[in-house]
C-alpha cells in the first residue's frame, strides 16, 4: 500500500528523472520500508520522504539538461530560427485532447466577447447631442451649429437646427467655400421626413412607418438614383479606389436585379447604403430617403435669413455668455459656440480686447457645441505671437491653416491659458481644445470632450433621395489621432462642474511662482 503511494508520488518528478532513477528510488523505498518497521521509524520514514519530495522536486524541474546546453551551443551557430524540444516523448492523446478543448473554449470566449461584450463604444455615441436625434436625417453626421439656446423670442429663429442649417448653408455660398461644408452636413429637410439609414439597419422601415409603403419605385427611378449615387461617389468620395468599387457594386446589384424586391424608397435607400458599406465600412457614408421632397438649396442666401441670424447673434452676444475679470487678474471667457466670423468678429474682438491686460486667461468651453472653423482659428490667434499651424481635420492644408497671429495690440500671446472642457464640448470647440493641447499652449481642465471631428457633405439626388459623404480628411501634422469618436483628453481631469475652480487654482499657483 505505502509503496503504491510512493510510486504515485514519484510521478511528481519530471519524466527524465523518473526514467533514470524511478525504479532505483522505489527500490530504496522498499529497502527502507523493510528495514524500518514499527510506528516511529515508519513515521520518520514518511517525514523524510515528504521533506525530500518538497526539496528535490523543484530542484529537478530547475535542472538544466546538459544535452540542451550543448545542443543550444550547436544551434546558435546555425542560421534561422530553431527550437529545442524539452519533452522526451511526443504529447499523449490526453494532452492533445485537453489542449484542443482549451483552445476551442478560448476561441469561443473571445468571439462571444467581441460580439457582445467589448465592442468599442464611441464616446460620441453617449454624448451625442439631442438635436441630432430629433432630426433623423443623418445622425452619423455631427451637427456643428451651436446648440439652440432658448433665449426669449428666439426659439423660432435659431432654436431649430433644421431651420438654421439651410439658412446657413445658403449664406455660406456667398462666403468662403470652406464654410459651406460646415453647415451642409444635414439634409436640409423637414425633420419628420428624412429617415436615417442607420435606423434602417436596425429595423425595418416599413414597421416603423407603414405609410412609406405607398411610394412605389419602378426600375427607371431606381436606375436614375443608382446612376446619380455612383456619379456623386466618383466625384466626391475621397477614397478614389473604393468610390469606383462602390459605384460599380451599386450598378451591378441593380443590373442583377438585387434591388427589384425593395418595397419602397426607404428600403431602397437602406439597401444602397448597405451595398456601399459592404465595399467599405464607412458609417458616415449614407444614402437617405425622404417622402416629403428635399428643398432645393437656394443659390444665394435670402437676405432676411441672414438678417435673422445676425439678430439672433446680437441678442445672444454672439454666444459670448460671460466675459469678465476674476480675482487675481484672471480673464474669464465663457463662449458657447464659435459663431460666424463675418457676423461676430466685432463682438469677439471686443471681448478679447477687454481681457487684454489679464495675467492669465481661462476659456470656458464646457457648453460650447462647436461652430465655424474660421472663428476657432480667429480666437486661437490671440494665443500666439506668430502664425501657428492650426490643424483642422476637415480641411486640407491651405494658407488659411495658419492662425493670423500676432493680433495687433494683443498681449495675451504669452499669458498662461486654461481651457475648461466637459463631455458636452463638441466639434469645433474640440478642435480648439485639441490644437492648443498638441501645441502645448494651454492646459485643458475638465472632462474628456464629446468626440465629434468629422462631418459630412450633403448631396441632393432628387426630391426624395440624397447622399451624405464624409468630408475629406487632412493629414494630421501632429501625427496623433484626432478626437473623432474618442474626444480630447484634458490635461487635468476633474468633473466639469469643478473645472473652473481647479483652473483658477492652477493659474493662481502658476502666477505666484513667477
Amino acid at each position: 500500500m505505502s509503496e503504491k503511494i510512493y510510486a504515485w508520488l514519484l510521478r511528481l518528478y519530471p519524466s527524465h528523472f523518473r526514467e533514470a532513477y524511478g525504479n532505483d528510488a522505489l527500490q530504496l523505498f522498499r529497502d527502507r520500508a523493510r528495514d524500518e518497521k514499527g510506528f516511529l521509524p515508519r513515521l520518520r520514514l514518511w517525514l523524510d520522504l515528504l521533506g525530500d519530495l518538497a526539496l528535490s522536486v523543484p530542484r529537478e524541474y530547475l535542472r538544466v539538461e546538459p544535452k540542451l546546453i550543448s545542443s543550444s551551443a550547436r544551434l546558435s551557430t546555425k542560421d534561422g530560427p530553431c527550437f529545442l524540444v524539452l519533452a522526451g516523448q511526443p504529447p499523449g492523446a490526453t494532452a492533445l485532447l485537453t489542449g484542443g478543448v482549451l483552445s476551442l473554449a478560448a476561441l469561443l470566449m473571445f468571439s462571444i466577447l467581441l460580439n457582445h461584450g467589448v465592442r468599442p463604444v464611441p464616446l460620441s455615441a453617449l454624448f451625442r447631442p439631442t438635436q441630432g436625434a430629433t432630426h433623423g436625417g443623418s445622425s452619423a453626421f455631427k451637427p456643428s451649429v451651436p446648440q439652440a439656446t432658448t433665449s426669449k423670442g428666439q426659439e423660432g429663429t435659431i432654436a431649430s437646427p433644421s431651420q438654421q442649417q439651410p439658412e446657413m448653408g445658403a449664406k455660406t455660398s456667398a462666403q468662403a467655400n470652406t464654410m459651406a461644408r460646415e453647415f451642409q452636413t444635414k439634409p436640409p429637410s423637414s425633420p419628420a421626413s428624412a429617415q436615417s439609414s442607420q435606423q434602417q439597419d436596425g429595423q425595418s422601415p416599413g414597421a416603423t412607418n407603414p405609410s412609406r409603403g405607398e411610394t412605389k419605385l419602378d426600375a427607371t427611378e431606381r436606375q436614375r438614383v443608382v446612376d446619380a449615387a455612383a456619379a456623386i461617389l466618383k466625384k466626391y468620395y475621397i477614397d478614389r479606389d473604393n468610390a469606383q468599387k462602390m459605384a460599380d457594386a451599386l450598378q451591378a446589384h441593380e443590373r442583377n436585379g438585387d434591388d427589384d424586391a425593395v418595397p419602397d424608397g426607404a428600403a431602397f435607400a437602406a439597401l444602397l447604403t448597405k451595398q456601399m458599406r459592404a465595399v467599405k465600412a464607412d458609417r458616415h457614408l449614407t444614402l437617405d430617403y425622404s417622402e416629403t421632397p428635399f428643398p432645393e438649396l437656394p443659390a444665394a442666401p435670402p437676405p432676411e435669413e441672414l438678417a435673422r441670424y445676425r439678430e439672433a447673434m446680437k441678442q445672444q452676444n454672439c454666444t459670448f455668455e460671460r466675459v469678465e475679470i476674476l480675482p487675481h487678474n484672471m480673464g474669464y471667457l465663457k463662449l458657447n459656440s464659435f459663431p460666424d466670423v463675418s457676423v461676430c468678429q466685432a463682438t469677439a474682438s471686443a471681448a478679447m480686447a477687454s481681457l487684454n491686460n489679464v495675467d492669465a486667461i481661462i476659456f470656458d468651453l464646457r457648453d460650447n457645441r462647436g461652430g465655424e472653423p474660421a472663428m476657432v482659428a480667429f480666437m486661437a490667434a490671440y494665443l500666439f505671437d506668430h502664425p501657428e499651424y492650426w490643424y483642422n481635420p476637415r480641411e486640407n492644408t491651405t494658407e488659411q491653416s495658419w492662425t493670423h497671429s500676432p493680433v495687433p495690440g494683443n498681449k495675451l500671446a504669452d499669458k498662461p491659458a486654461y481651457v475648461l472642457t466637459s463631455a458636452r464640448t463638441f466639434s469645433g470647440a474640440e478642435q480648439f481644445c485639441y490644437d492648443v493641447k498638441v501645441l502645448k499652449r494651454a492646459t485643458l481642465v475638465g472632462e474628456t470632450t464629446g468626440g465629434g471631428a468629422h462631418a459630412g457633405v450633403w448631396h441632393r439626388i432628387d426630391d426624395h433621395f440624397g447622399m451624405g459623404i464624409p468630408e475629406t480628411k487632412a493629414i494630421n501634422p501632429f501625427s496623433k489621432i484626432d478626437w473623432a469618436e474618442i474626444g480630447v483628453e484634458p490635461d487635468v481631469k476633474v468633473k466639469a462642474a469643478d473645472a473652473l475652480v481647479t483652473a483658477e487654482k492652477l493659474a493662481q499657483s502658476k502666477l505666484e511662482k513667477k
Binding site: 518528478y13 528523472f17 533514470a20 532513477y21 532505483d24 528510488a25 522505489l26 527500490q27 530504496l28 523505498f29 529497502d31 527502507r32 520518520r44 523524510d48 520522504l49 521533506g51 525530500d52 519530495l53 526539496l55 528535490s56 522536486v57 530542484r59 529537478e60 535542472r63 538544466v64 546538459p66 546546453i69
Partner: protein, 116 residues
C-alpha cells in the same frame, strides 16, 4: 556554459563522495553509509540522493559500475557506483577546505575542547 553545479559542493554530494571512498555502493548502501557517517543526522531521501548521484555522474565524479545483486538485501539487481579519480580529488580538496576552516575556527577559539 553555466556555472558548475557542484561549486560550492553541496553537503549531500560531499557525503556521497566520502561514502564511496574505498568501496562501491548502490543507492541504499550510500544512504546507509551517509547515515552512519553522520550519526544518523543526514538521512538522504530518494529524491535528494538520486538527484545528487545524477549530478555527480554528469560531472564525472562518480561512475556507474554495473548491476549486481546484494545478498543482504534480497535478489534484486542493483546499480553500483564508484568514485572516480576526479571525485576523489574533489573530495580531498573539499576536506582540505573544511580543514582550513576548522583551523581558523580553532584559532578563534570557538570550539570547546581540542577534539577533532
Amino acid at each position: 556554459m553555466p556555472k558548475r553545479k557542484l561549486d560550492p559542493l553541496p553537503s549531500a554530494a560531499f557525503q556521497i563522495l566520502l561514502a564511496l571512498v574505498g568501496q562501491d555502493l548502490h543507492g541504499y548502501g550510500i544512504m546507509r553509509q551517509v547515515a552512519d557517517q553522520t550519526d544518523g543526522r543526514m538521512r538522504l531521501g530518494p529524491g535528494t540522493l538520486y538527484s545528487s548521484i545524477q549530478t555527480l555522474v554528469e560531472e564525472g565524479l562518480i561512475g556507474e559500475v554495473d548491476l549486481r545483486e546484494d545478498a543482504t538485501f534480497g535478489h534484486e539487481r542493483r546499480r553500483y557506483y564508484r568514485l572516480t579519480a576526479a571525485g576523489r580529488k574533489l573530495a580531498r580538496s573539499e576536506a582540505e577546505r573544511l580543514a582550513d576552516l576548522l583551523r581558523v575556527a580553532r584559532a578563534k577559539k570557538i570550539l570547546k575542547g581540542q577534539y577533532v
